[in-house]
């Protein structure tokens, strides 16, 4: 049982999740993002209400977290040193579609360094590695669904797709809610980045409002003066049906 549920003595929810809006999410086949062409299923998916296999999901305790897991400036740095780049705090809430905070959600994030270079053997961009920056971090939301971490703002970088495609600066997020059906990976963009509307991966999303929802706002009120700017990024997971009535048999 999650610590948050334990503290409040709440009964865990067992309702199924709201159906995903597949017109809001990117479609599988988006040929302007070339890699999707041969990796996109072409047949209709099998649509079903959740079973217990999707309603349940793994839960992670705070005991898995190390002290520096949410500090990308320090978690790979040599003692006394720190990552190079514009220092930022990213904070926000994990909510579900009902507007309820999601406590105990595991968030894992990864990103390029301030020059736009990933620490990965398949990465070939000429921008240098930062010896003090690994590029990964994780945290677990508190009782209200709040989270925060510290990092350097990643740089934009070129990638092989079109002849001159650049990714806007972004941070990847992986999120576990309370059920495996809520499993989600997405990306956070930064307010004011002119590369956002040009990016083929961003443009896999059809609705501009869905792109705005992935764009973090600069929050000068949360900024630490003379230290770090702050960006607010809320994440919304699938909502959950209330179990008003327990119907054991339905249509059978």
């Amino acid at each position: 049982m999650s610590e948050a549920n334990f503290l409040h003595n709440q009964k865990p929810e067992t309702g199924s999740f709201f159906q995903r809006d597949l017109n809001w999410h990117p479609k599988a086949f988006t040929p302007w993002y070339k890699t999707s062409v041969v990796r996109s299923p072409q047949r209709a998916m099998l649509s079903l209400d959740n079973t217990i296999s999707e309603i349940t999901g793994p839960r992670f305790g705070h005991n898995i977290l190390g002290e520096l897991d949410n500090d990308l400036i320090l978690n790979f740095a040599k003692p006394g040193e720190s990552a190079i780049g514009p220092r930022i705090i990213v904070y926000g809430r994990v909510l579900d579609e009902r507007g309820k905070g999601v406590p105990g959600a595991l968030l894992e994030f990864w990103q390029a360094n301030a020059g736009g270079r990933y620490r990965h053997k398949k990465e070939g961009y000429q921008a240098p590695l930062d010896p003090n920056f690994g590029g990964c971090g994780r945290t677990i939301t508190d009782e209200e669904g709040n989270y925060f971490f510290r990092t350097v703002q990643p740089g934009p970088y070129p990638w092989p797709n079109g002849p001159n495609d650049w990714r806007p600066a972004h941070i990847h997020f992986s999120i576990f809610g309370h059920g495996f059906a809520q499993r989600l990976i997405t990306q956070m963009y930064f307010e004011g980045d002119p590369l956002i509307p040009m990016c083929p991966i961003v443009r896999t999303i059809a609705d501009p409002a869905a792109i705005d929802q992935l764009t973090a706002a600069l929050d000068m009120s949360a900024t630490t003066p003379m230290d770090s700017r702050a960006y607010k990024f809320d994440i919304v997971l699938r909502g959950r049906r209330s179990t008003f009535f327990e119907n054991k048999k339905e249509g059978n």
């Binding site: 079903l48 296999s53 059906a181 339905e250 059978n252």
Partner: protein
Amino acid sequence: MVQSLNRLKESASQTAGPYVHIGLTPNFAEIGGVYPEDLGTSMVNDKTKGERITVTGRVIDGTGTPLRDALLEIWQADADGLYNSPSEMRGAADPNFTGWGRCPTHMDTGVFTFHTVKPGRVPFPDGRMMAPHITFWVVARGINLGLQTRMYFGDEEKANKEDPILTRVEHQVRVPTLIAKREGDTYSFDIHLQGEKETIFFDI
């Protein structure tokens, strides 16, 4: 005008990209010293109840090429058919079994491997028992929304024949895409993203 339902929209998915390993399996990506071990690497320990099995396979694109940059997660019940989750209200699952595993596909061969136990049966919402199965979630560069599917067991022919989901599939000719073949203690399960053998993916 009517009242607003005051619902939020789910955050839209974006691809996991080519560097998903940095975030989810940093030790595999040779980023050492940040986490003691990659999450989801081991699902079982010496005390786990149930029949030990290995589940292995590849994720194959529309050209027949295995993906060497995919990442898979699986979620399953324990040997008695209980999920290790706070939302499991039917009883307490085996504390020595997480039920959840994560594995990147091999960077050269594209093979994934999970060491787990064979799951027990769990009920469909109407009370009928489903055949034993493992839920799969696949992400990779070029996959815009994580793909969910299930693996059923080739040696559970009787249970598969009465499974409420497998029997609902309109094109029964596609059902074998969800069924893993057993050889010794190993089940082989290839996931085909496209083509003749395209795996049935779940909108669930």
